[in-house]
Structures are given as structure tokens and as C-alpha cells.
Symmetry: D2
Subunit: 232 residues, 4 copies
């Protein structure tokens, strides 16, 4: 395991995170997965030999412990992907103030905590890739979606600031705007006409991997992906 490069995916579920794990593993990397709930990741442990960690992304100590464990067990991650978020819908006058705070902290502050720990390692090593999963809610504030707007706009601001700061230090920071619903095993049957309304997570993962492999003379800090049939 020592000679493999390491990719850490935080906020791992069974949809996009699983596809990212398979893509980067298929390219020869050792995968570490972190999630609040690690039970759902057991099949990726078997399939990919992934290491799995429990992490609460909005808790500074939990995030620090995650990075310490990964470094101890596997080594310095070359790729870190932040894929966690919490979404609440409701009229501005109806949403619960505690749930809103929790969602902002998970979606945006959690991205900061993970990005900060990743940057500490990569600045020492002298290179690396940090990627954040954004949403159309991060570039357009929809009605009845103020909570997700705050979290995802904030995450985009973080990514852009980090890109401007860290690119000249040879650390590639990217923000992937996923515009639409991602198909996953939990989604109702995937066939027939409805198919075209979903992003396939394997297809999204191809673009994450392309960003990681870009030559530094032509780095991208942001990219949007959406289904061909999507109105945007």
C-alpha cells in the first residue's frame, strides 16, 4: 500500500462518492472514505480495499482526527474531495434557526475545515489537489432554498479564495457545480424516459478525474456539469 498515491473523499455516500472512489481507485490510488455514517460504505471496503473513517465535518476536532488517522494509516493524501452537505427546504419564515445553523456549518464550514487540513499537508508536500462538490444552488439562489444557498454560495467563495491563494503554491483547487439530481442506487428505477433527468455519478467522476490530471499550465478552478436535457 505504501507506494500507492492516496485519495481521501469526505462526505462519502453511495452515489457520487462511490463513483469517485471507483474512478480514482481504478487509476491506481488507495482510497480513504470518511462519513458520518460508515455502515453504508462497507461494500466499497470489500470492492476497492478502501479505508473507512467516521467524521463529523462541522467539528474541528473530528476533522483533525480524520487527517491524523489517514496520515498514520496510509500517508499524505494527494487528492482530497469534500462532498458533504445538508439541505433544508422551506419558506424563509418557516425554516428552523437551529437546523439552518447546522446546515451552514456542515455544508460550508465543514468544507473549510477539510480544506484547511488538506492545505496544511499539501503545502508541506508541495503539491496536491483539493476538490469541492458544489451545486447550482451555489451560483443561483432559489426561492424556498435560502439555507442551501447560504451553504453552497459560501462553499463556492471558499473554493475560489483557496484557488487564488493556493494555485501559485502548486496546489490545484477546484469547485464542481453539479446542476441537477445525481442518480444513485436509492433513486427509483433507472430506465426509460426518466433516465435523462439524472446525472450519472460515473460521468461526473470522469470530470473530477480530468481536473486532477490537468497540467498546471492550464488549470480550471470551476466547472459545471448537467444533463443534456436540463434547462439551465
Amino acid at each position: 500500500m505504501a507506494n500507492k498515491k492516496i485519495g481521501l473523499i469526505v462526505g462519502a455516500g453511495t452515489g457520487l462518492s462511490a463513483s469517485l472512489a471507483r474512478k480514482f481507485s481504478g487509476a491506481g490510488m488507495q482510497i480513504a472514505l470518511a462519513s458520518r455514517d460508515t455502515k453504508k460504505l462497507s461494500n466499497l471496503v470489500d470492492e476497492l480495499g478502501a479505508a473507512v473513517y467516521s467524521c463529523e465535518t462541522s467539528d474541528p476536532k473530528s476533522v483533525r482526527d480524520l487527517f491524523s488517522s489517514v496520515q498514520l494509516d496510509l500517508g499524505d493524501p494527494e487528492v482530497v474531495i469534500f462532498n458533504a452537505s445538508k439541505r433544508i427546504r422551506g419558506e424563509i419564515t418557516e425554516i428552523d434557526v437551529e437546523e439552518v445553523r447546522d446546515a451552514i456549518l456542515t455544508t460550508c464550514y465543514g468544507g473549510f475545515l477539510v480544506g484547511q487540513e488538506a492545505a496544511k499537508i499539501m503545502k508541506r508536500v508541495g503539491s496536491g489537489t483539493i476538490m469541492f462538490t458544489g451545486a447550482s444552488a451555489g451560483v443561483k439562489g432559489f426561492p424556498k432554498s435560502a439555507t442551501f444557498a447560504m451553504g453552497k454560495f459560501g462553499l463556492r467563495g471558499l473554493a475560489q479564495s483557496m484557488a487564488r491563494e493556493l494555485h501559485p503554491q502548486n496546489i490545484h483547487v477546484a469547485h464542481v457545480v453539479v446542476d441537477g439530481g445525481i442518480h444513485s442506487e436509492g433513486t427509483n428505477s433507472f430506465s426509460g424516459e426518466g433516465e435523462d433527468n439524472w446525472l450519472l455519478p460515473d460521468a461526473i467522476a470522469d470530470t473530477y478525474y480530468h481536473l486532477h490530471t490537468q497540467h498546471r499550465s492550464a488549470w480550471t478552478w470551476e466547472i459545471e456539469v448537467r444533463p443534456w436535457v436540463e434547462n439551465f
Copy 2:
């Protein structure tokens, strides 16, 4: 006092907030000012007959109490302006995780708490104006400024979402991007060449007031203001 319309300015200091208070007071409104530190507002009490309240914008109870007090003392505010923020500069790897959380909660979550209370009143009344003070940091993520980027991007997302949701309910929501430093009494002597590097708070206040007076057939949700000499 009963017949005057009421304007509430949250996050009041001696710079922009004082100019906003003077502008809206000069247009015939009763002004309420809320700030963490109310001492610095005493001259506006004398000058404008403003009511002054202590408020911690990131604390739900403190914000609810503020609105209750204003309604009890003065009545329903027709204009609510959120003007609070906290700024931390530093490399992404150096900034303190507790200070970052506190800054996000003050700048973005505080805007939500104030906006939510304002919206509750204005939906009942059937009209009103809510304005948020943004910054260039809310549309561009600068290096060594990840904290302010998260807070101000998030605030912009909130404002855009609220504008899309509340405009059709006859509530005008606007986000003013202040691009540059605002001259205030604390700023070193204001004369000579340096003058042109600052935004004059009275000039900014004129644009806030214009937004408030726009006919609803041609509402603006966002406007940027910057000094004529500013590179942007």
C-alpha cells in the same frame, strides 16, 4: 412618533450605518439602531432621536428580542437593513477555526436571522424593504480572505434566494455590493489625493434610499457601488 414609518438598521456603527440613519431620518422615518456595542451610537440618539438597541446578530434569541422590542416601542419596521459583518484575514492554513466559525455566523447566519424576522413582519403587513450590505468579497474570493469570502458569498446567496421568494409577495429584497473602503470618522484625515480611494457613506446611503423608493415594476435585487478611481 406613531405616524412615522420605521427603519431598523442592524449592525450599526459610525460609518455607513450613521449615513443610512441620517438619510432615512431626513426622509421622515423614525430610526431604530441595533448594535453589539451601543455606546458609539449615542450621538445619533441625540441628533436624530433614534431608538437604540443592543443585539448579537448571530444569536437567534437576541435577534428575536430586538424585533419584539422595536415592535413594542415603535411599531412594524418598513425598512430593515443588515449591516453587520466580521472579517478575518490570513492564510487558509493559519486562520483559527473558532474565529472562522464566529465570523461566518455573524456575517451570514446573522443576516438570515435578521432577514427572517423582517420577513415575518412584512409578510403579515404585505410590504416592506430588506437590504443587505455586501462586499466585493461576496462576488470574488480573494486570497488570504477565505473567511470573509464564506460569510459574504453566503450572505449574497441568502439575499438572492429571499429576493426570488419575496418579490412576488411585495417585499423588496436588495443586496448592495460595496466595493472598497468606506470613509468614516475613524479614517485618517480625509483630504488631498487619498480622498478618492474611499466611498463616502452619504453617497452609498443615497443609493440605498433610491432602491427603497423604486417602483415595484422595476425592482433591483443587487447593485454594486465603488469609487470612480477604483480598479475593478
Copy 3:
């Protein structure tokens, strides 16, 4: 007439241009109107004492002649507003190449020709305001609207470049994004529910005038206006 300040509106029709003429005339300015078809402007001549000129905005000589005539007849314009455009709808594979070229030249190149002549005068005088009427089509490229997208995106690029170049020379350049249909005398009866789907041209003109009066310490280069009920 010699002591009045002069405002020139190019691309004048009976909708927004008439409201702009009334607003700036009401503020004490002498109005000059230029249009391909001057017949429809006769009532503004009577009502406001406006001077009227024939102009083809995509023809360099015609635009130069216009400015020469205005200067000879009235003097240097302090405000110049470009309000002309040509719109073609149709699938990308169906639109006529000659009509597309003509539309780009009228909408975008015409704005350049007018802006260039205005800038020559204002650089000599040392001040002035140049305003361009944009559209939502200039910030979002809609399907079956490639022609208008090219023209209005191009016009926005012109306005932004001129703002960055001329603001430090004390010339205010602004781009007003009109997002929606403007009510005019030609529009079917204006009453009842349908009312809220239109921008009232008098309301838009108020915002143009506010931009013109902004103090240069807090200039805006772009503003959007849309009806309160509009989805955006």
C-alpha cells in the same frame, strides 16, 4: 436654451426613450432625440421642446453627423443614452445570416459608435454620463435567441470595458439590464392582472436618473431592473 444641460437619447421610440426624455427634461435638461424613424417623436418635440435627429446607429458617418449636429445646435451633451437594438428570434439553423449581421451591428457596434463619440466629447469636457440599455439576453443566452445574445452580450462587454477605462477620467458609464417587457403605448390595454408582467418605463427612467446623479465616490456600472412578479 444655452444654459441648460443637454441629454442625448439615441434609439428613441415611444416607450422607454420617451420616459427618459420626460425624466431628464423634468430635471431641467434640454433633450435631443435620435432615431432611425423620427416621425414617431413629434409629440415629444411639442411636449418637451426636444430636438430631433435622424440617425442610423450602425453607420459611422451617420453617428458622427448626429453628434456634430447636436453640438452645433445645442452644445456638448452631458448625458448620452444608447437605447437602440434589433432582435431576431429563431432556431440557430434557421436565422438569416444577413439579418443576424445587421442586428449585431445595430445592437452592439451601434453602441460602440455612439459611446465613442460621447467619450470624445466628455474626455475634452472632463465629465459626463454614458448609459447603455441592456437586456437579460445580455447576461443569459436563451435558446432560439442567439442573435440577441450576441448583440446584448457584446454591448455589455463594451459598457464594462468603457466603465473600467473612463471612470478614472470622471466619466460615468453604466449598463442597465432591463429584465422583462417594457410597457408602452403600443402594448395592449394596461390594467387588471396583466399589469404586473410589465416594467413601467417611468419607473425604469427613475433608476437611470439616479445613476446619473450618483456621487462619483460610489458609482455603479451595472444595475438590473425587473417586475416584482418576475421569475429570475
Copy 4:
């Protein structure tokens, strides 16, 4: 040759276009190159077996003839890349009106003519990829660069409108924002510190190719590329 897929690059020079030709040729495609001046392309004919055509992109007949010749000689192009532009720098009051018109027509209208012919073929075939080379000047209007701003903003508007219109018809339209100078054989010696100021054309071509290969469930309509050291 009959069984190879065909890629057409319009506006071909020795920099980015040569790298695009090599990349898509290396992936098994037959390359057609079109340029105002075909002499400089002779080495690509030898190296890649590329077909070369003379074309004036702002002339409708010349563009139609190009597509007719390519179809007759090679077949329907599956990929069409528009890479032509004309750039003029100068103060808004100094630039020549004829040169400005010519530049807008080459940069933006030329993109339309090429995009329209490509769309006609691809709608008939039922699939294809159309890519436009943009510039940072197409998203930010720089001072003394009004001409390029108009051309490149307009081209971006075209690309966005075409993407919204054609994606649901299974035609992928993408706009690549090249933010910085592209290194080419004409550039002074490429070594030492200066290296990092340039985009390597081979690196840019990798991203064009990735966009072409994206699964339609996760299509990108726009991407920016810039050197790691670039301030943006």
C-alpha cells in the same frame, strides 16, 4: 479515411489549433483545418495527414463553401472547433471604426456562421460537438480593450444560447475561456522562470478533448483554463 471520424478546426494557426489537431488526430480522427492563411499549416498536412482549407470566417459564402468542401472530401464533421479572433487594443476614443467592425465580425459573427453550419449537419446526423475558444476578455471587459470585449462577450453569448438550444438535441456546445497567453513556436524561448506565465497549448487541448468525451448525462457548457501562477 472513410471510416475515421472527422474533426474540423476553424481559425487554425500554429499554436492552440496545432495542438488540437494533434490531440484529436492522436485519438483517431481525420483532421480538417481552415484558416485565412493556409501556408502556415503545411507541416500539419505532412505530420497528421490533415486536409487544409482556406476560409474567411466573417464571410457567409466562404464559410458555407468550407463546410461543403469538407463534407464532399471527408464527410460530416463530428467535432467543429471555432478558434478564430481578431484583437485590437487602444483607448475607446482612438480605435478605428472600420477595424472595430472587422474585428467584431471575425470574432463573434464568424463564430455564428461556423456554429450555424455545424449545427445544420449535427441536427441532421443527430449528434456532435461544437466548441468555441473564448478568452478572459469575454467575461471581463478590460480598459483599452473594448473591441475584444465586444467580440468575445458576443461569442460567449452565442455559445451559451446554442448550448441551451442544442444540448437537448444531443449536440454538445462548449465555450473554453483561455485566461492568459498561449505559448507557441513564435513565443520567445520557452524555459526558465518565464515558462509559468504561459498556457501550454497541449494542456489546453487535453481539456477540449475531455469535454468532447463527456457523457451527455454530465455535460459542461463552459470551462476556464489558466496557468497556476496567474492572478485571476
